[in-house]
Point group: C2
Chain length 127, copies 2
């Protein structure tokens, strides 16, 4: 299987876990030292326990039942990869969120070491 | 020079260009097909012209004169790399923003193909 296929498979299983509110599936394949830049505060969540807490919080959001990646773009070398995607993660059909991931291949398995989730700020409310 | 040293050098020059409001320096080393997830809308800015516009907009922000990367973490293979960092990008001393980059080495040069900039949403204003 190509690196892209392996990562696609991981992403599909992960998004399905989020939709099912399966916490163990959502945190599976993450590094113990993962650094998460999540939509809400804090500025960064460091380590798997803090990462897990971000999902417990997020499962309280109605959009989490729709969690779906769109326009997924994977760039992979032999041992390092990154992913960008849009997220359908609200009760609307339109994608509203953005996701970037940093991965490393460890002992033949792609491990997520970093995630960055965000919503854009409406221009009218900035500055 | 190691990949990490090459990327560190690029990041230092880039942040200095942003602080100086040097638009050509800020867009240098970016892919023609870069996809930018910026702090304000739109959801994504695709291509170098749209990317350039995000900087023109941002240079109107007082924090842009402080644009500084902190806790920069680089993971690089031979031809693919990603970066995460915190951003000092307001008139306060504390880092307030987050940055993730996806890179690819093309003809011996590291090119930024993706950037994701965000601020966390205060917990009190979500949900």
């Amino acid at each position: 299987m190509s690196a892209e296929a392996e990562i696609t498979h991981m992403l599909d299983a992960w998004a399905a876990s989020v939709r099912a509110h399966d916490l163990e599936g959502a945190v599976s394949g993450r590094s113990a030292e993962i650094v998460m830049f999540d939509v809400p505060e804090p500025l960064q969540a460091k380590g798997i326990d803090a990462y897990r807490d971000t999902w417990t919080l997020y499962f309280g959001d109605a959009g989490s039942r729709r969690f779906e990646l769109l326009e997924t773009h994977i760039v992979a070398g032999p041992d390092v990869a990154w992913v960008r995607a849009l997220l359908r993660c609200t009760t609307d059909d339109a994608p509203a969120g953005r996701l970037t991931m940093g991965l490393r291949r460890v002992d033949g398995r792609w491990i997520v070491e970093h995630e960055h989730h965000s919503f854009p700020v409406p221009l009218t409310s900035s500055g």
